[in-house]
Amino acid sequence: MNITDVENISKLAKLKFSDEEKKKLEHELSDILNYVDQIKNLTEKSEIKLSEDPDALNILRDDVAEPLAAPEKFLEQAPGREGDFVKVKSILE
């Protein structure tokens, strides 16, 4: 992990960092990745499949829309608002 990697990943993650923070992250993220790299020592044992886990299932309810009881309590949380709409910056420039 180098500074360029940090910059590229931060773009994907929608985060920005100062040069000092980038240097610190380069060091910290490298340490963490070095540690988790031990996972690569695991030799492939493809006979274990997720489908063999009896509890790996989803319990789904019927796909029926429910009325929203009080839109106001959601709207009042919005940082920007215009009437019954959440106000955001234009998406297409």
């Binding site: 992990m1 990697d5 940090v6 990943i9 931060s10 994907l12 993650a13 929608k14 985060l15 920005k16 960092f17 992250l25 910290e28 993220l29 340490d31 963490i32 990745l33 540690y35 988790v36 790299d37 031990q38 996972i39 690569k40 695991l42 492939e44 044992k45 274990i48 499949k49 997720l50 886990d53 509890d55 299932l57 989803n58 319990i59 789904l60 309810r61 309590k73 959601f74 949380q77 919005a78 940082p79 920007g80 959440v86 955001v88 910056k89 234009s90 998406i91 420039e93």
Partner: protein, 484 residues
């Protein structure tokens, strides 16, 4: 005995016998908290108005003889669990002014019994950490030694119960965040099987690992609360439709003949000698109670923490993408939509969430996901199989909860050394099995130490039966000094 020293069961008896009222009980705890919590900082907010209303409802129910076992009992809730109309900061600046718009299913089930909400407790930001030092609102201290951490991420809830500011509390446990602080604070901390309790209304960290957890002074209290909040939920597709046993009626089952496995990898190295001694004494105690013990191997244990720090950050990077300054929470100005996203997230998140978002984004990006994420999911299956294999020969496993007692504030300054504090607890989340930390002894310097019991998937009752017998046989009081 003073009111704050009562267990849930003892307090319930006093309430039902009308020796005390719910108003007196919660009032006494809140009064005490006002001075005590200035230094301890277990709470991010006290919900005094709500507590008054809850206590009135409880007292009315008691008067009309329709009280239930948790009616009138004061409790605390980690600030990443939603209760409608009440703050839920998740310990982050990005949710500083957020008020929950709905109530978690588990909390709804609890509230049917009319307990009394005391407040919302401190945590590491978005439950990322093992000390509460990552909270954007300052750390919680350990009630046994104010220069030490209470553990984390649910350190506020653990400290609240240990210091008698609440008689029970909820936390969340993704890698040890209930069991580790329970061990550090001398209380019982329980993490159920993945799928046992609904996650609806818990602010998501790692969705495939997160579970609600419970803190109380006794295993008996935890069993009662677990029974109240467990079960399927139409709002959580992972909450499985498996019957919930009547845990409290199974508490006095015999421990005689129980087979308890000692996973040798959990005693390999790096354990504090005093912790090791306390765990070994606990094993002897289980033998004295009639259990048979034997060594067992969980051969992929060495991969558990690495597996966790791949799967968890990948899920974090997805789960935390919703905090973008648009619909709720902190929003920083910017000239374009992209700038609002980036500025809000960069100013709103603290250092640890940013690190984990970065790791997760990296490990799930094209070209790396096979080497990291896919491999970690394979390791997860192997770790899970280690546990299911071990449970063919054993009813329970016993391990230390943590390698050391509570460490000093500021002691673990680099992220990796903090991650290692969860080395004995993460395996259970990876495998999905339930576990409980129970206070088992004290170090020479007066710090509590917990043992961890582990049960097969959906066999929580075994934890409660063995844990209850252990606690009854242990003639030791865990009472914090609350000294600086």
């Amino acid at each position: 005995m003073e009111l704050h020293e009562l267990t849930v069961k003892e307090a319930s008896e006093k309430l039902l016998n009308k020796e005390i009222s719910a108003k007196e009980l919660s009032g006494a705890l809140l009064d005490r908290a006002k001075t005590l919590d200035k230094d301890l900082h277990a709470f991010l907010a006290f919900t005094e108005e709500r507590a008054k209303q809850d206590a009135d409802s409880a007292d009315a129910a008691i008067k009309q003889d329709r009280a239930m076992p948790l009616t009138g009992i004061p409790y605390a809730v980690k600030d990443n669990i939603l209760i409608e109309g009440i703050q839920a900061t998740a310990g982050s600046k990005i949710l500083e002014n957020y008020k929950a718009t709905y109530t978690a299913t588990s909390m709804k089930r609890l509230m049917n019994q009319l307990p009394v909400l005391i407040g919302k407790t401190n945590l590491d930001e978005f439950a990322m950490g093992s000390s509460t030092e990552n909270s954007a609102y300052g750390p919680t201290k350990n009630p046994y030694d104010m220069s030490r951490v209470p553990g984390g991420s649910s350190g506020g809830s653990a400290a609240a119960v240990a210091s008698g500011q609440a008689l029970f509390a909820f936390g969340t446990d993704t890698g040890g965040s209930v069991r580790q602080p329970a061990s550090f604070c001398g209380v019982v901390g329980f993490k159920p099987t993945y799928g046992r309790i609904s996650r609806y209304g818990l602010i998501a960290l790692g969705s495939s690992l997160d579970q609600l957890g419970i803190f109380a002074k006794t295993v008996e209290d935890v069993a009662l609360i677990a029974q109240t909040v467990s079960g399927p939920d139409e709002y959580d597709s992972t909450a499985l439709n498996k019957p919930v046993a009547d845990y409290t009626s199974l508490l006095n089952n015999d421990v005689k003949g129980m087979r308890i496995g000692i996973p040798k990898e959990y005693f390999a190295s790096g354990i504090d000698p005093e912790v090791e001694k306390i765990v070994k004494d606990a094993i002897k105690r289980f033998q004295d109670l009639g259990a048979t013990v034997g060594e067992v191997s969980l051969p992929h244990t060495e991969y558990a923490l690495a597996t966790y720090y791949i799967i968890l950050p990948v899920e974090v990077s997805a789960n935390l993408s919703r905090y973008d300054g648009q619909r709720y929470g902190f929003s920083a100005p910017g000239k374009t939509l992209e700038e609002v996203y980036v500025n809000s997230r960069s100013l709103g998140f603290g250092a640890e969430p940013k690190r984990r978002i970065m790791i997760g984004t990296y490990a799930s990006s094209a070209g790396y996901s096979d080497a990291y994420y896919k491999k970690a999911k394979l390791a997860q299956q192997l770790i899970r199989k280690d546990f299911t294999d071990a449970f063919e020969k054993f009813d329970l496993l016993i391990t230390p909860t943590t390698p050391t007692p509570a460490f000093k504030l500021g002691e673990k300054s680099d992220p990796l050394s903090m991650y290692l504090a969860d080395i004995f607890t993460v395996g259970l989340n990876i495998a999905g099995v339930p576990g409980i930390s129970i206070p088992a002894g004290m170090t020479q310097s007066g710090l509590p130490v917990g043992i961890q019991l582990v049960a097969p998937h959906f066999a929580e009752e075994k934890l409660f039966t063995a844990g209850h017998a252990f606690q009854k046989s242990l003639d030791q009081k865990f009472k914090p000094t609350l000294t600086k």
